[in-house]
């Protein structure tokens, strides 16, 4: 039972991060390798606002979520916008460069010590009983519920709202979408904003559960196999991929060797790449026209 709870929490973490990869890839065909760092930035944002608005935890959370959204849009407007139309290689390399820049800047700005934003918010991480003898931390519970809410929101947004439909159109065929009067730059900026927003929320919640430390970036990278196993352009796939990766990781750690934690997602990834490289729900790439 405790294993099932662990799997659910880990799957929620991966799913919340993976949807950022999916949103950006699906809309602009760019693989963002700075996602782990952007996520960590969201976590540090919470730590900063928590000490700024001491005593008003809700204000602090709202502000930091808004900050994450703004940062995502800014990353697109200031950096990635110049890379639209360049080769995919250049765009991916730019995200790598952004990642390392952010990592260095965050260490310089916030230091290397582990921070606990939950304590700064004035809350404690209670351990709640669920079912037969299993326990879940309050932050873990919020993580699972938050992930469900984010995914429901994203599905509704992409399916029913005007901007959601525009986003899907831009992802399907940017040229046609632009000719129908959709502002591609606006849509791309929105996708980056949303991706950083969800990533930032993931970072904040993980930080509440376990504190902010350098391994947060590794968690961001480990969520990437989840996105790919499900299919890089499918949100549903990201959800399912996260569950698969999380189950494999938790079960192998429990029954085989705890040292395997860092490699399990990548083993699954490699197996998937050999068997069905476009993922469970991903669309196979179309024919390439000359």
């Amino acid at each position: 039972m405790q294993l099932a709870v662990n799997i659910a929490v880990l799957a929620a973490i991966y799913a919340l991060i993976a949807c950022g990869y999916v949103l950006i890839y699906r809309t602009s065909r760019v693989l963002s390798l700075a996602h782990g760092e952007l996520m960590m930035l969201g976590a540090y944002g919470l730590a900063a606002t928590a000490s700024l608005f001491a005593g008003h935890p809700l204000v602090a959370i709202g502000t930091s979520a808004l900050l994450a959204l703004t940062v995502g849009v800014l990353v697109y407007v200031l950096l990635m916008r110049r890379m639209t139309g360049e080769s995919v290689l250049a765009a991916v390399l730019t995200t790598i460069a952004l990642g390392i820049l952010l990592r260095g800047a965050m260490i310089l700005a916030f230091g290397t010590q582990t921070q606990y934003p939950l304590q700064q918010l004035g809350w404690t991480n209670a351990s709640l009983p669920v079912g037969a003898g299993a326990r879940i931390s309050a932050a873990g519970l919020v993580l699972v519920l938050g992930t469900a809410a984010v995914y429901a929101g994203l599905f509704a947004f992409l399916r029913f709202t005007r901007w959601g439909i525009r986003t899907r159109a831009a992802g399907q065929n940017p040229l046609l979408a632009a000719q129908r009067g959709i502002r591609l730059h606006g849509v791309y900026a929105l996708a980056w904003g949303l991706a950083t927003f969800t990533g930032g929320i993931a970072g904040m919640l993980i930080a509440c559960d376990a504190g902010i430390e350098a391994t947060l970036v590794t968690i961001g990278l480990k969520a990437f196999p989840a996105a790919l196993v499900g299919g890089l352009d499918s949100l549903l796939g990201a959800l399912l991929g996260s569950i698969i990766i999380a189950s494999a990781e938790v079960l192998l750690i429990n029954y085989v060797d705890p040292l395997l934690s860092d490699v399990v997602p990548f083993f699954v990834l490699l197996a998937m790449l050999v068997v069905r490289p476009w993922g469970l729900f991903g669309t196979r790439e179309e024919l390439d026209r000359v």
């Binding site: 730019t94 790598i96 820049l101 990592r103 260095g104 040292l259 860092d262 990548f266 790439e285 000359v290």
Partner: protein
């Protein structure tokens, strides 16, 4: 291989066009450069010699990455993992069987080739970024295997290797030979059928396939060649440092190599070498700058973070404003000198 001169010099045969060294001026410059390289270790001090050795060692890996990313257009995020694979092959063989270097070096190369083949296999199924993704998996697996070996055998801090040569001057010539051999091999591959196939798949895979190029084979061969060279570089790295540890091969090392080829200029062997010089000297430059600004004491504990941030910033600046890298700047200077006093080529040249 170089751009035609604007001085009424024409190439009249294909052999001439593909020659590595073409004109007499080039030959003279090359001879002068080679002489300078050979004299250098006898003039340089200990510190400078170590720097030169680092540059030579780094350049082998950078040229290998340039073949894969700069020419064949495949991103690799597992470069540190490959170096680790070569280094650990040498370390394990040395520790377990006390094998000499002439066994470990070919063994590292073989391991690199095998890894390149296995991890290149996903690219046979799909186009795009999938090779990059599988290399990321490669990185984590190799590092994990290395850590497992270290903990299982009780070398928790790392494996110590005795190098057959210890004199830095002797090392200089060994590494110089390795770097020159790598560069010559690369240049020759690039001017032949293989290199043209790599450049074609970089340009556009569908067109390359339509021209009769076996895209899968070209990708896989680029990957295998690059991995083999990188693994050899890893083996040399292990002997040069005399020490192998999984912690030395972090993702930041990969990023340093990627930075070297971006800053040097994608799609040029000269670029890989220039980028290497830049990347190796960069941390020392940052240190000097911090000392000059009087920040050295305040930032002493976070020097690595300053390096990270500065690396990222320089990479972004180059990607945005000078995508051709240092080579682009060099070519512009060349063109400016050639055309002077004109600003552009006269009409109907």
């Amino acid at each position: 291989m170089s751009a035609p001169r604007s001085s009424g010099y024409f190439r009249t045969s294909y052999a001439r066009d593909s020659a590595l060294v073409d004109t007499r001026t080039q030959r003279i410059w090359l001879a002068a450069f080679a002489a300078a390289l050979l004299i250098l270790p006898f003039l340089a001090g200990q510190f400078l010699l170590d720097l030169a050795n680092q540059v030579l060692l780094f350049s082998v890996g950078a040229v290998a990455l340039m073949l894969l990313t700069g020419y064949a257009g495949q991103i690799s995020l597992g470069h540190a993992g490959l170096l680790a694979a070569g280094a650990f092959t040498a370390g394990v063989l040395f520790k377990e069987f006390s094998a000499p270097i002439w066994v470990t070096l070919p063994a590292s190369a073989a391991v690199g080739a095998a890894i390149g083949f296995i991890f290149g296999l996903p690219s046979l199924r799909l186009r795009g970024l999938y090779l990059a993704v599988s290399t990321l998996a490669l990185h984590f697996m190799v590092i994990h295997a290395g850590q497992e070996y270290e903990t299982r055998r009780g070398f928790s801090t790392g494996v110590v290797i005795d190098a057959p040569i210890s004199d830095p001057r002797a090392w200089y010539f060994v590494l110089l030979a390795a770097a020159v051999a790598t560069i010559l091999l690369s240049l020759n591959l690039l001017r032949g059928r293989t290199g043209r196939a790599w450049r074609a798949i970089h340009g556009r895979e569908a067109v390359a396939a339509a021209l009769g190029i076996n895209v899968h084979w070209a990708k896989l061969s680029a990957f295998v060649v690059s991995c083999t060279l990188t693994s050899i570089a890893g083996c040399l790295f292990a002997y040069y440092r005399g020490f192998v540890s999984a912690d030395a091969f972090s993702l930041f090392l990969t990023i340093q190599y990627v930075a070297a080829i971006i800053i040097g200029g994608i799609g040029s062997i000269l670029g890989a070498v220039l980028g290497t010089v830049f990347v190796v000297l960069f941390p020392y430059g940052i240190e000097a700058l911090m000392a000059m600004l009087g920040l050295a004491d305040r930032l002493a504990s976070v020097v690595f973070a300053v390096n990270y941030a500065a690396f990222g910033l320089v990479m972004i600046l180059f990607l945005m404003f000078e995508p051709q890298g240092l080579v682009g700047i060099w070519r512009r200077v060349q063109a400016w000198l050639l055309l002077w006093p004109f600003k552009q080529k006269p009409v109907g040249r």
